[in-house]
Subunit: 235 residues, 2 copies
């Protein structure tokens, strides 16, 4: 088999949250010839709807494997998503500040990428895929290109596989420079069904989105810019 076919069977670990960004990133990885192994972290977040969405998205993608790792970030506190702090509700996008929001989870992407790295090492994979986005990124520091490059560097020093010279880790962030509208357009091209995804910071018991949190506002704006209706359920 030539290099093209070899590339076709190359495994990648994709961080799958159940949101629209990670679903799109997974679809890009599949398009680029990777065999997708999904990893979802159950990090004590209040919205279990995201986990259900991750399972639906993984099934729709036809992933090679999907592991759910429990990591209880509530013990270290500090976030409206894991602690008992109110999620801010904005009336419009203009109210979303440029400062880091209280929905920021301390060191979240570092924990998630570390788990992805461990799973990659177990699988013999060298490619990590994350749906990080530096434009509509809501002020999270661990979504910036310099951060992702630093993690890639770390991965190549951290692991048995790297020490033994069996490969070089790469962190892929295919959505990094895209707007939410561009992400949605790309995902639709690749067949992503956004009705399966969950983005809201505070969905109700039936998994329906609030339409008012930062995540909902950014998502709705993306669909609006494309002249589309978001297929997700809102309450």
């Amino acid at each position: 088999m030539g290099p093209y076919n070899w590339a076709m069977s190359r495994p990648a670990v994709v961080l799958l949250s159940g949101g629209m960004d990670s679903a799109t990133a997974a679809a890009v990885a599949r398009r680029d010839g990777f065999t997708v192994h999904a990893l979802t972290a159950r990090y004590g977040q209040r919205h279990a709807a995201e986990l259900e969405a991750a399972r639906r998205v993984a099934a729709a993608l036809g992933v090679a494997s999907h592991v759910v790792v429990d990591v209880d970030l509530r013990a270290i506190g500090g976030s409206a998503l894991t602690a008992d702090v109110a999620v801010p509700v904005h009336r419009s996008l203009d109210e979303i500040g440029t400062s880091v929001p209280v929905t920021y989870v301390p060191a979240r992407n570092t924990v998630l990428l570390a788990l992805a790295l461990g799973y990659a090492e177990t699988l013999g994979a060298f490619d990590l895929v994350i749906g990080a986005n530096a434009l509509d990124y809501s002020g999270y520091p661990d979504c910036r290109p310099a951060y992702l490059e630093a993690f890639e560097r770390l991965a190549n020093l951290a692991t048995k596989a790297a020490v033994e010279g069996r490969g070089t880790f790469r962190v892929h962030a295919p959505l990094l420079a895209l707007t939410k509208a561009q992400i949605i357009a790309l995902g639709r091209e690749l067949g992503v069904d956004y009705a399966l995804t969950s983005t809201c910071y505070q969905p109700d018991a039936a998994g329906r989105a609030c339409g008012a949190c930062d995540a909902c506002l950014l998502r709705l704006k993306g669909f609006r810019e494309l002249g589309l209706t978001d297929p997700a359920a809102y309450r």
Copy 2:
């Protein structure tokens, strides 16, 4: 208050496993004037004795806080410490190879340091302390100086605190260049009671060490080199 007193009250997050290295690293941090906040990860390891040891060590040190974070690394597999793989038993130290052992947990230190980073951010701390050791390190790639420097660099790109310019993260590995014998001598000077610590990869139900795994052999060698008897219980 002058800078000395300010330094006295500076908080540090210390990774505390319950083993002798992390207990010693915590004692060094206390000696150096840090207020010690301990973090123990319950990562699905088979030896709960380590957790009990971590609680005893934290109490003996008089830490300011001690959080236990559940992170189930069994889901990502790949290690004799978390999966159903036999722990190797050696008859002598000569049999411990220079290759990475099967007790290696994929990306363990990256996950642990990520959790410490998150807790530090919640506390407003900028100092992370790990008992990593590059000499008697049993072949773990994520105990090397270059790895720890890469994590420090990552931490300063990953966090809200760093982005907002409130401080610079430092990763302290005070035992990095010490032999096990030197670690024990240092800890005894600082009042560490090694009877409280648990090092064995496969302790029995009463928490007694096997005396035959890599970790036990390295520990026993350290005490022997000092002409001392290990106060821990062996079966």
